[in-house]
């Protein structure tokens, strides 16, 4: 009888393992289904087309939309800010989704118009940033924030090369992990490292134009 128990035990382990393995596969499939992002890109491309034969009336607005299109640094920034807002809101699930979205827009960043030196720098930045964005897409909140710290540095370095058409604010929280920065479109402090726990901790460190 005790032999039987042993066998049953072993089989139980087998079963649990197999279940775990199949769960993992399912998770991967889920991660792949972040293609709703490409839909937005299509919309944006569409506006780019409109821009070409626009009457100049809404020129500024249209241009902005065109520049937000697929492959631009502005698209990366937009996705970064969306992710930041999810962390500010302590929304783990949303941050996961947006991490995956950001990984995609980083991956499709067009670096062809830059100098060789800038290209290799951007390539390294993207490589690193994609990894952090992917981690964010599959981590719990505290890990997401850890990765967001390095990601923020990558994005800041990217902006130093690509520039930005809107003013950005580099903000600094002295408390998180020995001092951490992030980028924001607004002067107001909304801390992505602490969220609701310490929403207004930090200050504007630099203005990036």
């Amino acid at each position: 009888m005790s032999k039987l128990k042993l066998v049953l035990g072993v089989v139980a382990i087998t079963f649990v393992t197999l279940t775990a393995v199949s769960c993992k596969d399912a998770k991967n499939e889920k991660n792949n289904s972040t293609d709703h992002h490409s839909e937005t890109n299509m919309d944006e491309d569409h506006s780019k087309m409109n821009h070409d034969n626009s009457d100049g009336h809404h020129d500024g607005e249209k241009k902005e939309m065109a520049m937000n299109g697929n492959g631009t640094s502005q698209a990366v920034l937009n996705d970064y800010f969306n992710l930041k807002d999810a962390l500010v809101a302590d929304d783990n699930a949303k941050a996961k989704n947006l991490g995956a979205v950001l990984a995609t827009s980083l991956g499709s960043l067009d670096i062809s118009k830059y100098t060789e030196a800038e290209k290799s720098e951007l390539k390294e930045i993207v490589e690193d940033a994609v990894e952090h964005a992917e981690h964010i897409s599959e981590s719990e909140m505290d890990h997401q924030r850890e990765h967001f710290k390095t990601l923020s540095k990558d994005i800041t370095d990217m902006v130093a090369i690509t520039g930005t058409k809107t003013t950005l604010y580099e903000q600094f929280c002295p408390m998180y992990d020995g001092g951490s920065t992030w980028l924001s479109m607004s002067k107001d402090i909304k801390n992505p490292y602490y969220g609701g726990k310490m929403l207004t901790c930090g200050k504007v460190q630099k203005e990036i134009n």
């Binding site: 072993v10 089989v11 393992t17």
Partner: protein, 150 residues
């Protein structure tokens, strides 16, 4: 009782059956020139610690435990090693850009400090892989210096 016996028999068959399913083995005698230990001047005690605690899952060469060929344990190990190597492979350290090295070092420090690595399921069997407080401090300090020197 009879039905229990039948179920047990089926399970035994399944258990024996899965023993024939192949697993990938993480074994290599070659240490590539990009290895962490080769490109960095690592003190021998830290070298030793990393070898014992990290290299089984974060390099191309695993020192397998005796039960490693028994399924489903072999699958379990294979999965962890694959995941570990994708995350960080010490053998390929120098192929990373400085930026990514800094990122990896940051993660290494975080993982060791928080005790998330080495994994509990690993240290359960590999008692020697556990980090004492002193070892944690030493390794973390080394990694921090390395990060600052990049």
């Amino acid at each position: 009782m009879k039905i229990v016996k039948i179920i047990a028999l089926i399970l035994v068959v399944v258990f024996v059956g899965i023993q024939f399913m192949p697993t990938e083995r993480n074994k290599s005698d070659i240490v590539p020139p990009t290895d962490f230990m080769l490109v960095n001047d690592v003190p021998s005690d830290i070298k030793n610690k990393l070898q014992i605690s990290c290299y089984d899952c974060h390099s191309n060469n695993t020192q397998y435990p005796w039960y490693n060929k028994v399924q489903p344990i072999a699958w379990f190990l294979e999965g962890h090693i694959k995941e570990g190597k994708a995350e960080l492979n010490f053998n390929e350290w120098d192929s990373l850009s400085s930026r990514r090295k800094a990122s990896k070092l940051r993660s290494i420090i975080k993982q060791i400090e928080s005790g998330e690595m080495p994994m509990a399921s690993y240290t359960l069997i590999h008692k020697k892989a556990t980090f004492s407080e002193e070892e944690t401090q030493k390794v973390v300090k080394y990694m921090e210096n390395l990060k600052d020197s990049l």
